[in-house]
Assembly symmetry: C2
DNA sequence: TATTATATGATACACTTGTCTTACGGGAAA
DNA sequence: TTTCCCGTAAGACAAGTGTATCATATAATA
């Protein structure tokens, strides 16, 4: 590698780690392995990232546009709620293989952080922090249900999932 | 240390790690440090635990009786729901200093795993898996709200928290 | 072109990690 | 007591980690 812009180098490293994770256990992948796969020196890795985890964190923070919320889904009624679930779970399923890799490596919590930031930004835009706990409540439930959903390869239908979740909350109403 | 039963040795190691975490950053604590603090050899640590994370995992799995659910709180109505929130968040607040240590070390996800297992066991006892997603939905929201609660030192009242959470879910009902 | 700033690879270093081997000593049973 | 089992301490070892330094090469600017 010779003299690529910073964004590129970081991007190469992210891709290299994901590629390695398809083949090897996360814990067994060394920084040396990642640098070699990305075609950069080991010192270059440490210039951009402090730990392996930071690579995935960067992915969610700066290059995971495919998950971002382009709409606002503050659930004012069940229909809004179903819309939100459809969108978020749809994107999740499209990237399920990548999420399987992350779960296998116990890095799911980075996705939760991503959801927290996005839900908070979305809710605050609409409601200016009227209920600061609301976005975290939704992010937490969506995240945890997603992880269970992944266990059976996201086989359950999304509409069924939305229905199931509403039933769990609206006890007998 | 000479010849303690296995449970004792593990317990010493757990306590040693928590003690060290009060003083030092988690990442900076080495296995050598933990073993020294626990008064055991480094090889002994590796006999019982594979990684530092496993120590905390063991704590939640085997010695965190202070958080366990001794009652069943499947929320059939808002009153049940408030009861559950009171119990779980009450225990959380009692141990808030320990949870701060865990959060500082990015080990919160181990508490989520603990909640998942406990909610699942509780719900399944009552409903035999009628809605497999329900316990995960509740665990996810409780966990994530707890983490935000911790940010202001659990200052918000628990009853207020329960009310806030219900309002977030029951949009306008 | 000459100069400066910066991204890089290479190398070195002390420390940590995870595994392994060896020897010691308490506990249980003959 | 003698014997054996097994948890333990101590040490060795290769590999990985995180940091630092240095020389090189590219890009931007004067």
């Amino acid at each position: 590698m010779e003299y690529a812009p910073e964004e590129y180098t970081r991007h190469y490293i992210v891709q290299a780690l994901f590629k390695l994770m398809e083949e090897y256990e996360y814990e067994k992948i060394s920084v040396t392995d990642i640098a070699a796969k990305a075609g950069v020196g080991r010192a270059t890795f440490y210039r951009y990232f402090k730990r392996k985890e930071d690579v995935i964190e960067f992915y969610f923070n700066h290059s995971a546009r495919e998950f971002m919320f382009e709409q606002r889904y503050y659930p004012r009624c069940k229909a809004d709620y179903t819309d939100m679930v459809r969108s978020v779970f749809g994107k999740f399923r499209q990237n399920k293989e990548r999420f399987k890799l992350l779960k296998r490596a116990h890095l799911e919590y980075l996705y939760l952080g991503f959801l927290n930031r996005n839900f908070a930004a979305m809710f605050n835009e609409e409601f200016a922090g009227a209920n600061a706990y609301a976005p975290y409540l939704y992010a937490g439930m969506v995240f945890n249900v997603s992880m269970l959903w992944l266990e059976n390869d996201c086989a359950d239908s999304i509409d069924g999932l939305a229905e199931t979740m509403i039933n769990a909350i609206y006890f007998g109403q």
